[in-house]
Amino acid sequence: MRVSGRWEVPAVECSQRIARIRDHRIEDHDRSQIPHRDKVYAEEIAKYPDEIKAVQFARGFSRFLMEKKIHLNEWDLLAGFAYRYTYNTTLPVDMPSDYDPRFRPEGDVETIRETKECEEYHGLKEGDADYENMEEFSRGILIWLFKHWESGHILPGYRRVIKSGFGGLIKEAKDALATADEQQRPYVEAMLICAEAAAAYIHRFEEKAARMAEASEVPEYKAQLEKIAASCGRIAEGSPETFQDAVQLIWFVQEMLYVENDPASISLGRLDQTLYPYYKADLEKGILTYEEASDIIDALWIKFSANLHAYQNVTIGGTDANGDYADNDLTYIMLQATRRLRFDQPLISLRYSDNMPDRMWAECMALLKTGTGFPAFFYDGAIIPSKLKMDISEEDTKEYAMIGCVETGTPEKEYAKTEVLRINMPMILQLLFTHGEELLSGERFRLKEDRDLGSITSFEEFYDWYKSELLHFGDLSMHCVNLLDPTVIYYYPTPFLSLTMEGCLQKGLDVTGGGTVYNNSGVSLCGESNAADGLMALKKVVFEEKRYTLEEVAQALRDNFVGHTELQNALVSAPKVGNDIDEVDLIMADLVAAFAELVDGYRNPRGGKFQLGLYTVEDHSKMGVYTAATPEGRPAKLSLANGLCPEQGLDKVGPTAVVNSILKTDLSVATNGMVLDLKFTPSFLEKDSHMDAVRSLIEAYCQNGGMEVQFNVVDRATLIDAQQHPEKHQDLVVRVSGFSAYFTTLMKATQDEIIARTEYANM
């Protein structure tokens, strides 16, 4: 019999001083800082025309840190404020004088510009094979056949910084400079400039805090400000001495990383492990309590959340070098902070293992019940062995943490470029019906083997053809991504990030050029279950029942099923992924395995591997909007399936059937992460026996090959109301794919997609 009270957790409430900070949290946003940053960069680039990009950017970084507004409010516990100075795109190489980054394409990458820069870099001209490849790739990106993103998505070396302090890194850089050759010298210089700039930046806060402390007439605030001033004084060059020092230094590193040109998901790694020694030391000295540490973490969490749409990911839990579960006070403090504050950030990623204690289960379940979608569960037992296959050292695999959504990496040693490519599987299937013509845009793509539909006489023939085209587009796009790869260090290096990463100073090489220990690239699939469902539908309706021909299906796709209701119904009635039906589930398994094999053979120019991802961020909606009608009976513009999940609403047997279906795919190939999303109503999780059931579900999933699982706990009525009356639900946070977001800020297609996901109210 289970112990009663096993799911009980302490109640959590914000302290008064935290409530005050929380309520003022986004007031410091100032969008005029954005063009200011780029203007400074542009001026420094113009001032040093003969320097390499890394040095020019370092000078821009350095000057901007001296000029930018710094934030410290009278009531703050921690100093600073971060927001993204750039969006989802790289900085243009030739910035016009009137360039205003606030008017960059809305969330979109500047593909055309990046392609031109790449062609220029390689000296490609019209008629060259690779020129044609890059042009095709670029067109594919514009209509969402592919997605390419030189995004942040990194696990910086916070531990390196807190271990040495910037003073230590300055010394390390100067030593490296003494032995650097001509090639290495400018990169080391750039890192040194950044290190000195960082120290100077922190001194600005020391000075500001001291001034404000002097002027403050509120004793409580005065004391806090004096503490901040002293802390900043210590950590400008030195290593942290207290818990608050360590947190404050990590926060400053975060701010500065966002100043540099690397937006999106700068992830904190195993923060509970990183900060624990400082917490423990302070506790033993009697200068810190659990409650005070909770306030500091709350303050840090508030700063993370004020950095809008930044997907900052914190990893907690996991096992230590001996395999014991590594929960500590901070693990619980962090779970409780998230439960208290309920923001969309930081993302909380839980490293789960079979020996996770009951107390962790209780805290995690209590957090899941808030509906924010945290924590997502990542299974040590699946991820650690899979990373060994990626040539990560055994010691390093045990330190893995989550980046961005659900990708895994080694903090401070891995530059994984996790979002560098995503491929639209259902769109490729549609291209087979139209000799390579994408139906919504009219763009044409070269099939490896263009065929007449009438010539195909068996399902096996058609299936093999699709697989071959999928691998062809995979090959084309990975090849193009490799062409883009060397342009990054040339055009968009990141010297401050490189300073923090292990190996860059030593090698005298920016991280974008392969300076750190592991230098990989990530490629993800989108619409796996749509493709499997589509192939299954064709198998049944065209080849087995012979009710329609492939040509008739082609016409129906062109017409978006208008006037083809019977055909559409026939396709929709075929078996679907997610219902524990071997026939269709094994199609998905086979496609993923085949693509994984292709990926396994690929290398990038930095000596690293490609890693396969089975997650989609928000791209399942975006790609869906651009994808015409597809053979599973899906009408044009409807969202594709989220991650590796079944098509929304088409899993009709229950969560155990969904899990069974997913487990038929070998998930160990997903070394760039995967998403399995399950949705429960909040009322379902009110009962102890139901929480026991969810726990059993997770345990069974992981013990039988599962790697990642996450939960959406919000009822349909609330979501529909939030769509209709967003002003009433501004604080509603939901799980999207590998991240959570404020529901009312999502595009309608994504909102619809989340609503359409199946809700399990009975197990």
Binding site: S4, P635, T656, L697
Partner: protein
Amino acid sequence: MDRGQGKETCGVWMEPEELLTELSKDRIYYRSSGGGITFSGGEPLLQADALAQMMQLLKESGYSICVDTAGNVPFTAFEKVLPYTDLFLYDIKAFRDSVHRRGTGVGNHRIIENLPQLLARIHADNAGGRQGAAGVWVRVPVIPGYNLDLDGETDRLGELRAVASYLASLPCRESLLRVQPLPYHAYGVGKYKMLGLDCPTTALSPPEETVMSEFLQLLLREGLPADLD
């Protein structure tokens, strides 16, 4: 953007082997949760022979099996399934025959007699060295107007008090593993609709939390292993 609706069929004939295959799909969850297969209904013991045959087949695969019964069958039906049952769920809706009859249309004589016999039998099986059933969970649905707040009675919980006394008087109480009061809910209304029938309890509301707590206390005071999930 409608994918279209289908027809809904509830209920299907299955051969034992077919059912075994279907049930085996969830085996990894039985293992991780310590759970298994529950036969419910309707009244599964009305098909005791077929049920026993199916249970024997499932036992060969090592599954844990539970039988959910209202108890209104000859004891011989219990005997047929006892060798393969790990747990019984047993409904007690009322103690007084008249109250039971008013709510279900039949008397509860057999139900009241079978339970002590079942407990004694389980106890004997386990004491005799054979690996018997783990025991019995008794479930008491709490339904306003039917065993709560009865017309003409001032004691709201009168019938439930009688149920509690009855349970406390049972022999071999160590095999009575759990007593679960279950509040009335309206989820069945949909089923009536689907069958084209009028639901006789649409006017009912679930009992208040305070009433459920009071009943729980009553049971606990009798030393019974009661809980509200």
